[in-house]
């Protein structure tokens, strides 16, 4: 197992235990496993993919069952809104990567700047989603609404049900990612995350890219069914 010693990296602010050796020299010993952290993150992302994967399979099943209803329902979604959100998330993925690159290049301020920009894009995405959902709800289209139950065919009810469930779960992930970014911001400021120890920011990045990845598939599946 990898035990990164203080001597190897030259900073002693992250020790888990310390004491004095034979010749009265201070030795500090702590266990750190960046590889393990990253591997664990990937395992977690695996479960996330299966969580959304199940919903994609559900979407697929009903799409085969109700192709025309899906088509008609999708016509009511706003492509421009969806495309803008796609660009927002893609760009936020870039700024997240740039934040990590900057940190590894020891430019703390640039790294923080890109992290704030990424957070801003996340917020922009949520605001867009708010307006999109509001417009739909205003037209009486939401799970269990009178409009859906009494005037729409079964396939459209299912389509909008999945639309709210999948984009809702996705937006929840965006919000979680933004909360993680706030913690990363604080940790970079305090130096807990630094150019040598950047695995936390890297894992936050992996999570954020997964959120982007899911949207890459949600966008064509819900908005581009014309």
């Amino acid at each position: 197992m990898s035990t990164t010693s203080v001597d190897a990296h030259g900073h002693s602010n992250n020790h888990a235990g310390h004491g004095y050796g034979d010749n009265n020299q201070l030795y500090v010993h702590f266990h750190r496993d960046d590889y393990g952290s990253k591997f664990g993150m990937w395992l977690f992302l695996f479960t996330e993919v299966l969580l959304f994967g199940g919903l994609f399979v559900l979407y697929y099943g009903y799409r085969i069952a109700y192709p025309h209803d899906y088509h008609n329902a999708a016509m009511e979604l706003n492509i421009v809104m969806g495309a803008v959100n796609t660009l927002v998330l893609l760009t936020s993925s870039l700024t997240m990567v740039l934040s990590i690159v900057a940190l590894r290049r020891k430019s703390i301020k640039t790294s923080l700047f890109y992290l704030i920009v990424t957070f801003g894009f996340g917020a922009t995405f949520c605001v867009n989603k708010y307006f999109e959902w509001s417009a739909k709800i205003h037209h009486g289209i939401f799970p269990g609404s009178m409009e859906l139950r009494e005037t729409r065919p079964a396939g459209e009810v299912v389509f909008f049900g999945l639309y709210y469930l999948m984009t809702g779960l996705h937006t929840f992930h965006v919000i979680v990612g933004m909360v993680v970014m706030v913690f990363c911001f604080i940790f970079i400021r305090t130096g807990t995350i630094n150019s040598d120890k950047y695995i936390v920011l890297e894992n936050a990045g992996l999570y954020w890219h997964l959120v982007d990845l899911i949207w890459i598939f949600l966008f064509p599946l819900f908005y581009l069914l014309h």
Binding site: W42, V57, L94
Partner: protein, 105 residues
């Protein structure tokens, strides 16, 4: 697990990641988004869905390989991704047998 030190320290000191390459990948991703929106307005019949999914898959590969760094990771990380992909593909294919029997058979 052997070979940990390569990942914790050598990686940091050997090559610093660059901004430029990531910006290039972002430009490609934006171009592919524009392409997929354009293609959606053209009627390709049954192929529309497959073209949209193909473009989405290319975008996903770029994000996974470059932004998520899997291209530079070792075989263990890659195998996690492969396992994930395989599980999902198997579920999808087996479900398809049932679906097409029901609705098109």
């Amino acid at each position: 697990m052997s070979g940990h030190n390569e990942h914790t320290s050598v990686d940091t000191h050997e090559h610093l990641p660059s901004y430029g390459k990531n910006v290039m990948i972002w430009l490609v991703l934006v171009a592919l988004t524009a392409l997929t929106v354009t293609v959606a307005s053209v009627d390709l019949g049954n192929y529309t869905f497959f073209v949209a999914m193909l473009i989405a898959s290319i975008k996903a590969m770029l994000v996974i390989n470059i932004f998520m760094h899997i291209k530079y990771d070792d075989i263990l990380m890659k195998s996690i991704l492969l396992a994930c992909g395989l599980v999902f593909t198997v579920i999808f294919i087996m479900y398809s047998f049932d679906l097409f029997n029901r609705y098109t058979g």
